[in-house]
Structures are given as C-alpha cells and as structure tokens.
Symmetry: C2
Subunit: 398 residues, 2 copies
C-alpha cells in the first residue's frame, strides 16, 4: 500500500525538512532544536502562577474513528500498522489539530504497544478491541516476558518527532503509556473484560507474581516515557489507568501505587521538569488521591496533575486543589451526543466548578468514541474556550 | 423435560402442603399465614434498636453458576425457562440456603423479566448475556411498549410463595427488580454494553422520551414489587441499578432520581413496612446519597437501606450512618478468589469499618460469578459471621 498518499498534513513538514523514510532516524538523532512554542497553554497549566487568558482544551482519543479523515486511512491499514508507521501515526495525531483549535496533540499510539514488544501477541479486532493470543495464565508464564528491544519502540519516538516538528509550536505535544495495572489486566484477561475475574484472581491469589509483573511494567514504562520526552520531544506525559476502578481503594493503595511510584521516580529522575498527569479512571476515592499526593521526589511532587472522570467527588477535588496540582477533566463525553443546549449547560457547570484553580485543563471524562459527531466535538472545544475566557474576564473585573 | 426430577430441596414442602403444578395458583391465593420467623436478622437490621448477636449475611447472585447443583439444572433448561417455572425458580433460590448458613434467600429471577413482559424480545446467550432483538431506536418506538399482562408475572409470585413456605422461617426472603435506568439502558443498547453510547444519546438528545420510558418503568416496577410482597411473601425488596455509575452524579440526580422517587412512593403507599434497599452501583457520590436521603414519605424515609459497592467513600458512609439507614455490603467479590489469609483480612477490615452501626448487613460489593469456588464462598459466610459475632461480644464487654 502506498501510505504516502495519506500524508496530507505532514507533507509540508517533510518537504521543508527534507525528511524521507530513509533518512528519518538520522534526521531525528541529529536534530538540534524544535520551533519556539507559540501556544504553551497546556504546559503553563502546571505552573502555579502562570497567567492564562483561558483554560487550555484537548480531548482524549481526539484522533480516531469519529473523524472521516482517520477512517480513510483505517480502511487500508490495520491498527498496529498505523501505530508502527511513524509517518501515519504523526499524520493521524495532527488530524484533530486541523479540525479544532486545540491546545495539545496526544501522540496516536496504544497502551498495548509496550507489552506487545515484551512478548505478548496482540491484535486489535474490529468491535472486540485488543485480543491477546498468549495471556499469562499462571506465575510460571512470567518467564515468557522479556524487556523490549529498544529499537522496536523507536517508531514511537519518530512519530513524536515528526508531530512536534509539524506542530511548529502551535500547541503542546503529549506522550503517554498505559499504567502497569491496566496493562497487566490485559495481559492476564487476554483482552477486554467485564468482570476482570482472572486478573483479580492473580492479584489476590498469585499476589507475589502480580507484584513482580507490575514492577517490571513500571520500570519499562518509565524508560518508554523518558524516551518519548528525550528522543521524541513530548512536552507532557500522561499515564492511563483505565481499569483503576476495578478494585477497592485499599487494594489500589496497597498493591498498585507502589509500582506507580517506581514509574514516577524513574521518570522524574530523568525528566524532572516534564509535567506528568495520572489518570486513575473510576478510582476517585479521596484516600487514593491523598496517597498520590504524598509521593514526593527531592521536594518536588512526582505527580503534577490528575485526569479526572465525571464521577469524582467534591472531597477529592478539594484535596487536589489544596495540594496545588493540576486538574484535567471532566465532561462526560456522552453529553456531546446531546442537544446544543445541554452541551452548553454542562460546560458552564464544569467551568464554574473547576476553573477556580489556575491549574486547570479542560478535557472529557474519558475518550471520544466512533459515534461522536465532528460538529458536536467542535461545539465542545469552542464553547469551552468561550466560557472559560468569559470566566477569566469576569474574575479579573471582580 | 421432566423438571420435577430437579426438585430435591422443594420436594418435602410440596408433599407436606400437597402442592402440584395444577393446584399451585389456587393454593397460593387461598393461603393464610406463613410459618413463624425463626431467623429474622435481615429484617431486624432495618430496626434502629433491634439487638442482634451478629450482622446478618447473604450474597448477591448467591444462586447461580458457581453451584454444581445449579449447573445440573441449567444443562437442561434455558435461562428464562428456569425463571418462568416457579418450581425450578424456587428450587434454585433454595440451593444456597442448603449450602451455607445464610440469613436471606433472594428470589432467583432476572431484572429483565419485567421489560420482557412489556414487549421486549429478550434472550440470554451463553457468554454474551442478554440480547434484545427489538431495542428502542428512536422515541417513536416507545409506542411498542405496553403494560405487562399481570398474569404473565404471576410465576414470580408463585416462586416466592413456594420459597417462603420451604424456608420455614429459617431466613428472610428478598424480592427485587431492576432500576428503571438500568432496565432502560438494556432496552436501548440491546444488551450489555461497554460505552453505553446509545442510551447516553437518548438521555441527552431524546431527553423527554427517556423520561417518559423511565417513568413507565418506575410505575410498573412498583406494581411488580408490591405483588412480590403481597402475593408472594417477599419480606424485603431490593432495586438493582447496575448501570447507575455510567452517568455523572448531577445527571443521575436530575434525570434518574425522579423516576426512582415514583417507584419508591408507589411501593411505600402499599407496603409501608417492607424494607426497601437501593443499590446505585458505582454511583457513590455523597451528593447522590444525600438526594436519596431527602426522599421522605409521610415522615418515613422512602429508602430504608443502601447496598454499597467496594468503592464507596468514607464521606458517603458517614451520611448513611448519620441518617440511620441500613448499610449492606461491601466486600469486593474478587477477594474470594484469594488466599484464606487475604479473605480473612479483608473481612476483618470490612467488619471493623461498617459494623459500628447496628444497621448493617454483610454482603459482597457485587454478585458472585461462575468462577467462584464453593469452599471460598463458605469461608466468606462463616468468617463474616465469626468475626461479626466477636466484634459484637467485644462491644458488649467494653
């Protein structure tokens, strides 16, 4: 397949920098400095006193199946092929930045890229999601895991590099990985799950083996994120713990946070100034957030901000605000199926509640899905910016 | 199929009361009084000052596929056939009461029995769960719904009657229904869902139509529960809102609680003294619970207790305890896959935390699943009773 015909947005950058598939790696490794940042709103939202005109806005899964231009590419390539081709991954990452005036691009990739490189045989099946041919069944299977060959992840750093170049400082670039617990759950369940019975059995019966895999994943994830920053040019990183809410708060604190701590520490040792956002989806217990807030590295917090889903309690919010960490969230994406009136009303309620802190990034509570309409997504972006600007203006006047 | 060969536990009761398939309805309708209650612990847990030796214990989905004696029946009958045969439904309900020293039996039925009788074509498929052949697509489809023919639900009241007779007062009997929102979600999604996109689209786009169906379901659910009590002999009722956590707290309060209020009011008008337990699964926001606690009927609360999942916050618990309502929950069922040591430890932490109130019923945070082992379930029941008794004894001594 001639994938280059899909490179519409990226084309100009490739011509300008004379980048070809043959010289990409070499160009990246010898590159000196990215263009000056024109819009730095997302990174600024991690500074206590950075003034901003309005809250920054981006969306989870903003690149994806709801965009016709994405579906065009997907018609010809399988999912991991799109992730593994840095030109295509960059092109897809850029697509929503052309559609909407958003303040960050998040690299188009998958939380299962890393475990795939560690020995898991993963395919993405239409409607079913990820399917893992060789899930871990008993602790004996842990031996099957191996550290990823660093070369096999270079395509992610390539894609980040191309995207950062093409963005020309017009918005920030975010890298990410899956949290150890969520990746571990896929590795045990063999795919998506409703009950998470198998991974819960591991956690409560093969506890030692579970902690061993979680720690391994934490260490490899840290390296992966460090490289996304240092080699790819990611300016913020986010850790997606999509299945965090599947176990009680006390078990999340006892079994999961220790591995996350390893990830955070390893990352911050190398990238002390890169903001790190933690997304413990559906795990909103104040106790869990307080445990995260206790994690300090050389007097600097290991977690700079929290992505929040729409069921976060006021008590949890207060803890984050008191600790001066950044809040990212949290409109229920289902609201975007609704009438313009309800979309505007829910945005207004969200802004009213969360923009009391300067450290706020507008986002959805979870990802966009294929049935979202582009025009409703546009309304979300524009209306969030408009209302946030109004809120700021009022604040200054008062 | 000769289903009567499966009636092992029920057999004695049928002989004693000379009940046959031919005379069952007539026997039920002319019945005067159930045996005296020997163990009333679950009902007592709704009385402020009822002394009890230990907290009562029962489990959600305690009858089901983890029991070999259930699998024997299921090998020969499809799911709705087991629900619709009152003898089989009673037999299955009784199975766990023979295995474990539990304090309540919950009628073996399904939350989709009611919508099935209202015009939805529902089958249960192995591994897939419920599949609805004619989901509601647009508000025009609402006309397809009709009130259930009261006769088509009589088999549930028959099953309750047989169970209550067979229990001989040895434990309490619980009836139930699905909450309007959860039933509505199935009616729109056409089965289980990961994203609940279709039902969210209804809620935010076809809001008026959604509220209309929710209200219809609330009214029919109330009638159904009243009959479970008055005609079947249920002593407590529970409302399962399994998908409560799929929308934000503010939307649950705005759109869902009004229909629940109708259900509660209609029910309490007819059955003011029957305890009603609400289970808003994964919707643990303190604000939501406070809204429920505000619902008062003739100076008596409309909700007598809350089933809680394992992610409930301390703030929410405090509100329930302060309002003197009953707490039921909340051990993560995945813990029962674990080692005896972790099962005992988690039970001890739960009892320590929740038994500070007299109004407490031990239960799991959600239902048992096919992969639970009978012996681990037995350990949960026995250990909860043992620790709860010890806790009570210590309390009295102090």
């Amino acid at each position: 397949m001639d994938y280059q015909k899909h490179l519409k947005i990226l084309k100009e950058t490739l011509e300008q920098h004379k980048i070809t598939p043959e010289n990409l790696r070499e160009k990246r490794l010898s590159f000196k400095e990215f263009p000056k940042q024109i819009n730095n709103r997302v990174v600024d939202a991690f500074q206590s006193f950075a003034p901003f005109d309005r809250a920054p806005v981006w969306m989870m899964r903003q690149a994806g199946r709801y965009l016709p231009e994405y579906r065009e590419i997907k018609a010809e390539m399988d999912f991991f092929a799109t992730c593994q081709n840095p030109f295509i991954a960059a092109e897809i990452t850029l697509q929503p930045t052309k559609q909407f005036d958003i303040d960050a691009a998040i690299i188009f990739s998958d939380i299962l890229v890393l475990p795939k490189m560690m020995g898991m045989e993963i395919t993405i099946e239409e409607k079913k999601g990820p399917v893992i041919a060789n899930p871990l069944v008993t602790p004996d299977d842990i031996q099957r895991l191996h550290p990823p060959n660093p070369e096999h992840l270079e395509h992610v750093y390539d894609a980040l590099f191309l995207t950062r170049l093409a963005l020309q400082g017009k918005c920030n670039l975010i890298g990410f990985c899956g949290a150890p617990w969520t990746v571990f759950a896929y590795m045990i369940e063999g795919g998506s799950s409703k009950l998470f019975s198998k991974v819960k059995k591991w956690l409560y019966l093969y506890t030692e083996g579970s902690l061993q895999v979680l720690e391994l994943l934490a260490k490899e994830s840290a390296k992966y994120l460090i490289n996304q920053v240092k080699q790819g040019g990611a300016q913020v990183v986010q850790i997606f713990d999509s299945w965090a809410g599947q176990i009680p708060a006390q078990d999340y604190i006892e079994f999961i946070i220790p591995s996350l701590r390893i990830l955070f520490e390893d990352f911050k040792k190398e990238c002390p100034d890169t903001p790190l956002i933690m997304f413990p989806k559906d795990q909103n217990d104040k106790k869990v957030i307080v445990e995260f807030l206790k994690l300090i590295y050389n007097d600097k917090p290991l977690v700079d901000g929290f992505q929040l889903d729409s069921n976060v309690s006021d008590e949890t919010l207060v803890k984050i605000i008191e600790a001066n960490r950044t809040i990212q969230g949290n409109l229920e994406p289902g609201v975007l199926y609704g009438t313009p009136a309800i979309i505007k009303k829910r945005i207004s309620q969200m802004i009213e509640k969360l923009q009391t802190t300067r450290r706020y990034i507008v986002n959805l509570a979870h990802g966009l899905t294929p049935d979202h309409e582009v025009e409703k997504v546009r309304l979300f972006v524009q209306e969030s910016q408009r209302q946030s600007k109004l809120y700021k203006a009022k604040e200054i006047l008062e």
